[in-house]
Symmetry: C2
Subunit: 448 residues, 2 copies
């Protein structure tokens, strides 16, 4: 059957949803249809917490309410090809949908690791499908020995979350020498390592998985250090690669690291096709290199830009580059990172100066519930421009990293940050005389 | 005895301390001396919490450690006059100190209310002196009926704090029709009112105190509504007025609302004398009017500007105006305000558009410890520039108001905020699709 729409969005994750809603807001006279292949999707960053923190995994579901409220039509089906000449897509169910403007928000899939035995039962990829995950949760909860593979955010959050289930021995394996290495310098990543260790997680950094051993179902894992450990379930918290098959088959350009090439308005090499989220190329805010950042928050920002620019370009709504802004939570410890780390900025050839401040999130620090806070800011030495920041501490750090994120996006200088006006309150912040972001900036300024 | 210094700071509060430390940092070759009249001062915003939250009021003391570490000399004495021709000050102890550069950080004092009986025992002004406050705390803790006078931040925080002491009936009287009226619109101030009522605080808005009745010590209070209430202690949480006596006697100019006139570098009408903090004039960031904002955080920002500009002007370090940024905490409820409120911006003649968002500070909202969050943003209708914001919710709002504060200071537009890149995490923020600051901006954009 051939159906007709004006704006067609492929993908039901945060990027797809927000782009469809934004399109309808800017172009209310247009019909907007969203096609998604997973009927029962879930919020990506909430997946680890479906295993223990949430009473019911369904609490993390992505519903259709916000789409319906915005008058966006929804189909559950899989698009198998794009016909750019006819301006239509073909689906698995055999339907075709014609479009004026097409938005690819098709996401990413876990990368395939060439480890012998990786196809065995008990080895779980993390797919954003509630029904699939429920089965994984069932098995993992009955587990005795779980190995989490990958020391990035997903792996770290899984290790933390699983330690809340009693009776499971957890190991976390990472090829690199430290956890969260791409987003944090060692003074911050070591806090994550200490925290997980204190919860009984066995950390295996600098460690590669050589072989998964078992009789159809995983039983043991042989490591690069020669030892073998027991594991009845393995969670692959490894990186993802952009889903570009549809785009490639349709003849769209890829960027230098094989994401879909897009311009600042999120247009692909076909001006009627936009790409956003994990499948779309990202340019780092400072290095201007293509980077493989995959974040729901970045995706929604891109979705708002694409949705607005579909039929008419709005210069103020352009993508100025990705700042790689993250926060995570490990059993009471909040870690946040935005922009470049000190080590990455050095590696990329920036001449930097670093300021830091250790303080508390209430004042005086004897108030109940006080956490220590650590802020580190990385500035360009010559211009004094803020290029990156990291924070650790209690809950307020979840918002503090966004404060640093705004300052980066606004290209604020060390002097502007040093004389920032902030609200302070005994129960809510450190004292105004030692507000950590201001003091870290001052500390950097002293070195310039 | 005549002593000599290069930089002389008068005042031991946050402004004085930070200006002295900054002066020493920028001009290490100069001698810096700070003279303060109260030897045992305390952190201003922590004063309410000395009454119950802190085990020992001394925990809120301001020590001399940070001054000593920065090689700033300290004298406890009171400056009684400034001789600008001789470039020296005279103290109560009879000493004189000559200076090259003088910084006035002399603060403010509670305004005097013309209420009959206000001089009685049991009526307490809030003075930043630990020894004095300890005596007040002793009396108030044994109190049966306390009346807090003033529904601004100090009054509200005192009412909240005293409700933690069992056996005290608390009344809060405010002349205006609502609490926190200068900093919040009614949708936010009503939350503070509900919270205090739920703690058993009797709210007397639209109420003036006509007479304090007692026999040398306060027993009752006659109100403007004709009733009389019992009160054995009264706390004056009322406004303060700048201490300008020294400045006036030295012939320095005042601004239109009788604060010490200063320029953007914090210089008074005498280029060798700077004024900062509560005693110094403030210009509103948007209205450009003189405003009576008295905040330790504003004071420290001014102190950093003054300290840097003492001998050589640094154009990047200038005061671009005060954004009136506040946060407060009432028994689990955090309220924050920055810039202009909707009602003030209308009164001042700005054409505005308002966006708001109600959400949660975790996602999904079924995660333990989730609080609801309310964000309201006020934009200039024509330019789309952010002019003010208010937040309510849990602890993260203490940092979120500073995020809004940065956006105001950077004159960010509704579009920049709508496409902001933020870090989101299930335990730390709302979902990326509905981050409240982004959605409030979007809500405003829809109306433009």
């Amino acid at each position: 059957m051939n159906k007709k729409t004006d704006v067609l969005v492929i993908g039901g994750g945060p990027a797809g949803m927000i782009s469809a809603i934004t399109a309808k807001r800017y172009y209310p006279e247009k019909n907007v249809l969203l096609i998604k292949s997973i009927g029962n999707g879930c919020i990506p960053c909430g997946i680890p917490y479906m295993f223990a923190s949430l009473k019911d995994p369904d609490e993390n579901k992505i519903g259709n309410e916000s789409l319906e409220k915005s008058d966006v039509a929804v189909e559950v089906d899989e698009v198998v090809s794009i016909d750019r000449t006819q301006k239509q897509v073909i689906t698995k169910k055999g339907d075709s949908y014609s479009y004026e403007k097409l938005i690819l928000a098709v996401g990413s899939s876990p990368m395939k690791l060439p480890i012998p035995g990786i196809g065995m039962k008990g080895v779980h990829r993390i797919v954003k499908d509630t029904n699939y995950l429920k089965k994984v949760i069932e098995q993992v909860r009955l587990s005795k020995n779980v190995l989490v593979l990958g020391g990035g955010f997903i792996g770290v959050e899984f290790a933390d979350e699983l330690s809340k289930i009693s009776g499971i021995n957890i190991s976390l394996a990472e090829v690199l020498p430290r956890l969260l290495m791409n987003s944090f310098d060692s003074d911050f990543s070591s806090m994550a390592e200490e925290k997980l260790k204190s919860q009984g997680v066995r950390l295996l950094t600098n460690t590669r998985i050589e072989e998964i051993i078992g009789n159809g179902k995983v039983e043991k894992v042989r490591l690069s250090n020669g030892t073998t450990i027991d594991a009845d379930n393995i969670i692959l918290g490894i990186g993802s690669i952009p889903d570009t098959k549809l785009a490639v088959n349709a003849g769209l350009d890829l960027n230098r690291i094989n994401s879909i090439w897009v311009d600042e308005y999120m247009r692909t090499s076909d001006p009627d096709i936009f790409a956003i989220g994990d499948c779309a190329g990202k340019t780092d805010f400072f290095t201007r290199k293509a980077v493989p950042v995959m974040l729901a928050s970045t995706a929604t920002s891109e979705a708002r830009i694409a949705g607005a620019n579909l039929y008419r370009l709005r210069v103020v709504r352009e993508n100025r580059g990705t700042i790689s802004i993250y926060s995570t939570y490990i059993n009471g410890l909040v870690l946040g990172s935005a922009g470049l780390t000190e080590s990455t900025s050095k590696k990329e050839g920036f001449e930097t100066v670093v300021g830091s401040c250790r303080g508390f999130d209430k004042h005086p620090a004897t108030l109940p519930g006080t956490n220590s806070t650590h802020v580190k800011l990385i500035f360009s030495r010559k211009s004094g421009t803020l290029m990156g920041g990291q924070v650790s501490g209690g809950f307020p750090c979840g918002a503090m990293i966004n404060l640093i994120g705004i300052a980066i996006q606004q290209r604020m200088s060390v002097t502007e940050l040093e004389t920032l006006q902030v609200a302070t309150h005994p129960y809510l912040t450190s004292s105004p005389t030692v507000y950590p972001i201001v003091i870290a900036a001052q500390n950097a300024a002293n070195k310039i």
